[in-house]
């Protein structure tokens, strides 16, 4: 590989700046007291505290999962601060004007000017800075449609009946180690409720950013789409450059009732660590949706380019008859990044359909694994699944892996799984170069073509961002 190409691979992390603001951070370590303090800081009702404590007690008894194709030093859960909030004002900002200009500038640098972008793109952004939601745009417009879009802390205070009904209904507290941890200490996140037969008037969006040193970010997102409703939700993530590994353990729960349609898109660009694999975010995320009613649909689209470690399996439980689950993923790893990501499609209802398209690109010294489960229950007559996992290897120091689990208990179901692994072929490169396209551009085109099936599922603004992200990472990475 030429120096030029190596330089491109070793590009600087563009979102790796630190914002200097005063913040209030709990001392590291986790015990019942910390859970109580977090709950108290949020002015949470008693039942919420109980719920957290229950999760904490279960977490204490659980073991760290080791089955993933990942190698990392054990995470010291006592070295992490479980709560960090910008500024120590007890009364948080009520409107964007009250938000610290430096924070706004941070978002500006990240390319999400809350005022402008929201207006131009018609996107309502709920920005989460470390653990506290700092402002939600377009709240009024949404309120008119009856849509609830607020931080989860507000929702716990203002809509307790919805939270009590749905929180933990898809991802129970004891679901897995990281979900239990999140349930105990989650500090903020977003809550969305779309009323019956309502089409959400705009795309909803959250932007996560980890700023404080030695903090973990534990946000919790809950989206409930009532019967006949429709919503598209976007999530983006970045973090500053730090030498230490930071922990991100989020939980996202989606509930789609009869005929509802939820589309959840993620562009994840957490700090991946430096060229020697030092630092970076440990991203242990539990994302799951349930198609509860008939004819409902949940679609996950993710573009994963960041994080030192990605451990993430956005899943769909297809409970309602004729419900549909989709998973479209592009996972790019470079440097010393490791990704173990994929999906689970659990077919319970009749005529349920699922589609999985996973594109993995490995470069540098990274390891990229697809891990998926398709399970067909005896009741799921007429179930249908198609899975396609393609991997592209760039360089001979990286790895691409596929671990699909297929469990079928119904003779009326049809399942297909295909996986291929290859490099950018010399023929393709030759064809492009023959037509006067330089090598870097050609590779970029080929990789973009490789990912096209997934990109076309992304909302417009994100598709552009995702395409750019890949381009920067991969231009000419073939030697």
């Amino acid at each position: 590989m030429s120096d030029e190409i190596n330089a491109l691979i070793r590009r600087e992390y563009e979102a790796g700046f630190v914002t200097n603001i005063e913040s209030e951070t709990l001392p590291p370590g986790l015990n019942e007291e910390v859970v109580r303090v977090i709950s108290a800081k949020k002015n949470e009702p008693e039942w919420m505290l109980e719920w957290r404590l229950e999760a904490y007690r279960k977490w204490r008894e659980m073991e760290i999962p080791t089955w993933a194709h990942l190698k990392h030093p054990p995470v010291d859960f006592d070295a992490i601060s479980y709560y960090s909030s910008p500024k120590s004002k007890n009364d948080g900002p009520k409107s964007l004007d009250e938000v610290d200009p430096e924070i706004l500038e941070t978002f500006e640098k990240l390319g999400i000017p809350l005022h402008e972008r929201a207006k131009l793109a018609g996107v309502a952004v709920d920005a989460v800075f470390d653990s506290v939601s700092i402002g939600t745009t377009f709240k009024d417009d949404l309120a008119k449609a009856g849509v609830i879009f607020c931080s989860i802390s507000e929702a716990i205070r203002d809509y307790p009946e919805l939270i009590q009904k749905y929180l933990g209904s898809v991802v129970p507290q004891q679901d897995n180690f990281y979900a239990a941890l999140n349930s105990a200490v989650f500090s903020d996140g977003s809550f969305v409720y779309i009323p019956k037969n309502t089409r959400c008037p705009m795309e909803l969006s959250t932007y996560f950013r980890i700023n404080e040193l030695n903090t973990g970010q534990f946000e919790r997102t809950l989206i409930v789409a009532d019967e006949g409703s429709q919503v598209s939700y976007l999530e983006g993530c970045t973090a500053p450059m730090r030498d230490e590994n930071q922990l991100h353990a989020a939980v996202v729960e989606l509930v789609a009732l009869g005929n509802a349609d939820i589309k959840y898109s993620t562009v994840q660009n957490w700090y991946p660590g430096d060229e020697n694999g030092k630092g970076g975010i440990y991203n242990f995320v539990t994302k799951r949706g349930v198609c509860d009613g008939a004819n409902s649909k949940i679609s996950w689209t993710q573009v994963e380019t960041g994080s030192a470690i990605t451990w993430k399996y956005p899943s769909v439980i297809l409970r309602g008859d004729n419900s549909i689950g989709e998973f479209y993923s592009v996972a790019l790893t470079n440097g010393y990044q490791q990704a173990d990501t994929g999906t689970k499609m659990i077919h319970l209802g009749k005529n349920t359909k699922s589609t999985i398209v996973s594109k993995g690109i490995s470069a540098g010294r990274s390891q990229n694994a697809y891990r998926g489960l398709v399970r067909i229950s005896p009741r799921a007559d007429g179930a249908r699944n198609h899975t396609q996992c393609d991997s592209l290897l760039i360089g001979d120091q990286c790895g691409a892996h596929t671990f699909p689990y297929i469990e079928n208990k119904n003779p009326d179901a049809i399942l297909e799984h295909e996986a291929t692994t290859s490099k950018v072929s010399d023929d393709q490169l030759f064809l492009c170069r023959q037509r006067g396209i330089d090598e870097e551009k050609a590779v970029s085109m080929i990789v973009n073509g490789f990912c096209k099936e997934v990109f076309k599922e992304l909302p417009m603004e994100f598709a552009v961002e995702a395409g750019k992200l890949l381009e920067v990472s991969l231009e000419g990475a073939v030697g």
Binding site: T402, A413, S422
Partner: protein, 442 residues
């Protein structure tokens, strides 16, 4: 029912009554390794879908199976394969009366461990137990923990073994549930070639746990064609390890037919250690009633320019359960590898279950790898095509099933083996609803 720990204890106790060949170094090592291992449970990834219930419910390890048999019945069951060298093992015990291989014995190509001369002993000591990671194969370790005898097949350099070698393993009904163990070491020197036919069969119902091991080492440019019929009675518990090492330019080809039983587990592990080696694994497995069959394939591509093709088919009906796990592992230096794996499955019953996991683990970039898996019922369009030509639905279904299985059986390299396979398939389908006249359709 005993616990996995008690099973382990049972195995270790059984060693007190078993003597191994005194010149063999492996058993002592294997016992030490076994002591440090745990009996797999549902939480063990490689045994996730295969519970060891039959082993925990029957005190197989408490008794050693004997090798007594009615010679006439055995001869009838084995069936004639024409001009082959034949070795018969009853419950793991070599049975000279039923075997005929004097030519190859005289040439020193086939030798029982107990008859091995010094050179052969050295070869066995050097090769046995080197084809796999003992920690990952607890039943192989168990097998090597007490080695009363074994079989060495040693093809000298550039020697073409003309006659196919047929190894027959018969399981019978014993007075008590008991353990039968057997092991084979195949060593094909540079440029040699041989054909091996393994027939795992039984004389009616059996109460034996057969734990079998085969290690194959193909030296540069050696060639081996291997047919395996596992057509025993469904009462058998059978765990089978096959570990193959391929040197530069060697060629290994396997065709397998396997029926489910109380518990059947096949581990096939192929290591590509030299350039330009080739491996083909063709297999078809069938399970019915409450049978269980588990196929674990692992292809370790550790050298560049090697190719592998794997094609497995599964036929699963009634309340049976089948597992297929195919792993392709391309090491960092194994550039220019082309490895393809395909698993096609027919699931025909509401109570049946199929779990399949085709895995790719790739650390080299200039490779072409793919795997595919499909699970489905009989194709409606094909059935319609038959029916529109006046063939009733039941017949059409039977013909499609026949075609599905037959496609693999027809590829067997030996005509006599195909005939034998068909006989056993006819027995298998005898009590499968709607398919019992399957073979009369041809």
């Amino acid at each position: 029912m005993i616990t996995p720990n008690e099973l382990k204890q049972q195995a270790q106790n059984s060693w007190q009554h078993q003597s191994s060949l005194d010149w063999l170094s492996l058993p002592a090592k294997a016992r030490a390794t076994f002591a440090g291992l745990d009996i797999p449970t549902r939480k063990t990834e490689a045994w996730k879908y295969t519970p060891l219930t039959p082993l925990l419910n029957n005190a197989y390890l408490a008794n050693q199976a004997a090798g007594d048999v009615d010679a006439g019945a055995a001869e009838t069951r084995i069936g004639p394969l024409g001009d082959v060298s034949r070795l018969v093992f009853i419950n793991g015990h070599f049975t000279p009366g039923l075997s005929r291989f004097s030519d190859l014995e005289n040439q020193g190509i086939i030798t029982l461990f107990s008859n091995a001369n010094d050179t052969q002993r050295d070869l066995i000591n050097a090769e046995l137990g080197t084809g796999f990671e003992p920690k990952e194969h607890i039943f192989a370790t168990l097998n090597y923990s007490s080695v009363a005898d074994g079989l060495l097949i040693h093809a000298p350099a550039d020697f073409k073994v003309q006659q196919a070698i047929q190894l027959v393993y018969l399981s019978t009904a014993e007075a008590d549930t008991s353990l039968a163990q057997s092991r084979v070491l195949v060593c094909a020197e540079a440029g040699s070639s041989l054909e091996l036919i393994e027939q795992f069969d039984s004389l009616g119902a059996t109460n034996v746990f057969h734990n079998h091991m085969m290690e194959v080492s193909l030296h540069p440019n050696a060639r081996m064609v291997h047919t395996r019929l596992q057509v025993e009675h469904e009462s058998l518990t059978h765990i089978n390890g096959l570990h193959i090492k391929l040197a530069q330019g060697s060629h290994y080809e396997q065709h397998a037919l396997a029926f489910g039983s109380a518990l059947k587990r096949n581990d096939i592990n192929v290591s590509f250690n030299g350039n330009n080696a080739y491996c083909r694994l063709n297999g078809v497995f069938l399970s019915k009633h409450k049978q269980h069959i588990d196929n674990h394939l692992n292809l370790e591509h550790a050298a560049p320019h090697c190719n592998s093709d794997t094609e497995y088919k599964g036929f699963i009906t009634d309340s049976s359960r089948a597992v297929f796990n195919g792993r392709i592992h391309i090491h960092q230096h194994a550039q220019k590898t082309a490895a393809h794996l395909n698993s096609k499955n027919l699931l025909l019953s509401k109570q049946a279950e199929l779990d399949t996991k085709p895995e790719l683990e790739i650390y080299a970039d200039d490779v072409k790898c793919s795997h595919g898996a499909s699970i489905g019922k009989l194709d409606d369009k094909s059935l319609f095509y038959f029916q529109s030509r006046g063939i009733d639905r039941a017949t059409a279904e039977a013909m499609l099933c026949l075609g599905f299985v037959n496609e693999m059986v027809e590829q067997f390299p030996n005509g006599a083996v195909i005939e034998l396979a068909r006989q056993r398939l006819a027995e298998f389908f005898n009590d499968v609803d709607k398919l019992n006249n399957l073979w009369s359709l041809e």
